[in-house]
């Protein structure tokens, strides 16, 4: 599903440049649930941004579902993001003047899905994350866990190939974190490919594979025994 070869990325900071990714190679198959771990500054967020086409790589290959991602115009990148990727952020990033249902429907709007169908789909995905009764509520009326579940519903609404989660539990207490992870695991059980960036060991162990990043290189890449989040909920 995802294939990365010899990926380099450096940021210019004034006169000197900061080499953040120093040749990353890895592959993600369909249906995997991968945790990307690393301390801050290890390059995990940069990697996620590149995977999310929010940022470009300096060199190396990135193939997503057989499509080479390279030198995209902003318009094309927006199209691919909409079609291929769903984002889940640490700070939820819901649009606060839109209701939960409208937030979930947003990616569909950009796909020019008709209004009615958009609403139906939004409700369907809200139901899946258990928030159907909250469809008309504004984000400000919800708890952190609920917001993140809306964000997950939104990420899934466009039926993307890959879900990218950037510290999805970073802003949540552990009980809510496990609820969210439980949801992510269930979505993964349905066959969705998910990448989770985290620095929490317990969250990482709820995935099926852990990729360790340190100073811009992968130092460890191992399959693990998945810990189900259900038992903690």
């Amino acid at each position: 599903m995802i294939e990365i070869k010899d990926l380099h990325k450096s940021y210019k900071m004034g006169s000197n440049s900061l080499h953040v990714l120093k040749g990353i190679n890895f592959k993600v198959e369909e249906g995997e649930l991968v945790a990307i771990m690393g301390s801050s500054g290890s390059g995990k967020s940069t990697l996620l941004n590149i995977l999310g086409m929010l940022d470009g790589a300096d060199s190396g290959e990135y193939i997503l579902d057989g499509v080479p991602i390279k030198n995209l115009s902003e318009t094309k990148a927006a199209q691919y993001r909409n079609k291929f990727l769903g984002f889940i952020f640490q700070s939820f990033n819901l649009i606060n003047y839109k209701s939960a249902a409208e937030n979930v429907a947003l990616p569909l709007y950009y796909q020019k899905v008709p209004r009615k169908e958009r609403q139906e789909k939004a409700l369907k995905y809200l139901e899946r994350v258990g928030l159907k009764p909250w469809a008309e509520h504004l984000p400000s009326e919800m708890s952190g866990g609920q917001k993140q579940r809306v964000a997950i519903a939104r990420a899934m609404a466009a039926e993307p190939k890959v879900l990218l989660a950037d510290e999805p539990t970073g802003a949540l207490d552990s009980k809510t974190s496990y609820e969210v992870m439980d949801l992510i695991q269930k979505i993964n059980d349905d066959g969705n490919t998910i990448l989770v960036v985290t620095h929490e060991e317990d969250i990482a162990h709820m995935c099926k594979r852990i990729v360790h990043l340190k100073d811009g290189v992968i130092v460890e890449d191992k399959k693990i025994e998945q810990v189900r989040a259900e038992q903690y909920v």
């Binding site: 941004n49 999310g52 929010l54 940022d55 902003e74 318009t75 927006a78 199209q79 993001r81 909409n82 079609k83 984002f87 952020f89 640490q90 700070s91 990033n93 819901l94 649009i95 003047y97 947003l106 990616p107 709007y109 950009y110 796909q111 209004r115 939104r154 466009a158 510290e167 970073g170 802003a171």
Partner: protein, 418 residues
């Protein structure tokens, strides 16, 4: 464009900070308000001045003779001469694009002695010997009876059309003027009509004139073939200012005046005067536009400023939208439409306020009666459309820089978790 979701969003954004939106809108509203008021005031002044020109055909010149200032063909300098009645035919033959040529003779004049008598009453009036066409050049409304016609001219009838002012002086209030006689310098004329001039141009003077047939006038007052002066109107397509050179030179040739004698034939080009006034108002209008647009500009800059702030405030939101796959141009369009919508709405409010003020002034003018040099200020629908176009364009301009900065938002920067 007529996308329901997009409009909902525009409304949501603009109403999310109502007072800020109102204050921003006020700038534009004020600008267009000033523009409308200035233009209306200019129009009012123009109407007032133009009223003084009255209904007189403006494509007209008046021409008279003066003493020559140069000798020519053996004739001395300082010679007096008169236009003759056959000059009219000569002009008709040589200058085909003339519409009316009215030879005129005149008795009396400003401050003249009493020259008209009726019974025990007397008065001093301008008495004109005229052809029927004069009513087209110096329009008046015949309030009773009729105006001169060609039978009057042909038969040299001693008939007269008197102004309402004359009637008020010489007749009692309810007295019938038609069919009575008035004595003009000792000659009796039958009153066949009364008139009223619509324009206040000549003021009271304009209502105190008497028109008699040209031929009767010449005979009664011993003018022979002489013509005192002429009122010449050109066809609509051609300008009297262009034709006057030719007309004057024909006259000089016919009366043996030196071609370079610029004093011998006097004329007054009404069209030129009118044009001068016209271009004055053109300039006034230009000033109104410039001042108005300048004021509007500061409003526009206000809108642009606020839109920049809105973009800044919504950086994160724009980042989210882009992460979710919104196209850059769609974001740009959104910002531009917000800006245009804001300017248009506030501009319309300004136009409405301006129109209300103009309406107020008009009804005030109506109730206090006419004011010198100012009459019915107004703005045409064309001006309003123009103002709306200006608003549209300025909204576009105001939104342009903010929209540009909105699509420069990098999704990653926007989504940084701070």
């Amino acid at each position: 464009m007529f996308n329901k979701d997009r409009w909902r969003e525009i409304i949501e954004v603009l109403t999310s900070n109502v007072w800020r939106t109102i204050f921003t809108a006020f700038g534009v509203c004020w600008g267009i308000f000033i523009l409308i008021l200035l233009l209306a005031a200019g129009k009012g002044l123009e109407n007032g001045i133009k009223q003084d020109f009255g209904d007189i055909a403006t494509n007209t010149m008046f021409m008279w003779t003066r003493a020559t200032t140069m000798g020519y063909e053996g004739l001395p300098q300082g010679r007096q001469f008169e236009f003759k009645i056959n000059d009219v035919q000569a002009l008709r033959d040589n200058v085909p694009s003339l519409r009316y040529i009215s030879p005129r003779n005149q008795l009396g004049g400003f401050g003249g002695n009493n020259n008209v008598v009726r019974g025990l009453r007397t008065g001093a009036y301008n008495v004109y010997g005229d052809y029927p066409e004069i009513i087209n050049q110096d329009p008046m409304t015949v309030t009773s009876g009729r105006f001169l016609n060609y039978n009057d001219i042909k038969e040299k009838r001693k008939v007269a059309i008197i102004g309402n002012g004359v009637k008020n002086d010489l007749y009692d209030k309810d007295e019938e003027a038609l069919g009575t006689y008035i004595k003009i310098q000792g000659v009796n004329f039958l009153v066949i009509g009364t008139y009223k001039k619509n324009n206040s141009g000549g003021g009271e003077e304009g209502q105190k004139e008497i028109f008699v047939p040209f031929t009767s006038f010449s005979q009664a007052f011993n003018r022979g073939e002489d013509v005192g002066w002429m009122a010449i109107t050109a066809n609509d397509g051609s300008s009297i200012s262009v034709l006057k050179e030719k007309i004057v030179s024909i006259m000089k040739e016919r009366h043996k005046v030196h071609p370079e004698d610029t004093r011998a034939v006097g004329y007054f080009d009404l069209y030129e005067q009118y044009n001068r006034v016209e271009s004055l108002f053109g300039a006034l209008k230009a000033v109104a536009y410039i001042v108005g647009i300048m004021v509007l500009l500061s409003g526009i800059i206000g809108v642009s400023n606020i839109m920049l702030i809105v973009v800044k405030e919504r950086t994160k939101e724009i980042g989210i939208r882009r992460a979710l796959g919104e196209q850059p141009w769609s974001i740009k369009k959104q910002i531009l439409m917000e800006s245009i919508f804001l300017t248009l709405i506030s501009g319309m409010v300004g136009i409405i306020f301006g129109a209300a003020i103009i309406f107020g002034i008009n009804s005030l003018l109506d109730s206090v009666g006419p004011v010198d040099m100012f009459m019915s200020p107004s703005v045409s629908i064309g001006v309003v459309t123009g103002a709306l176009t200006i608003l549209m364009v300025s909204g576009l301009l105001a939104g342009f820089i903010p929209a540009q900065s909105a699509i420069k938002v990098r999704p990653i920067e926007a989504l940084r978790t701070e």
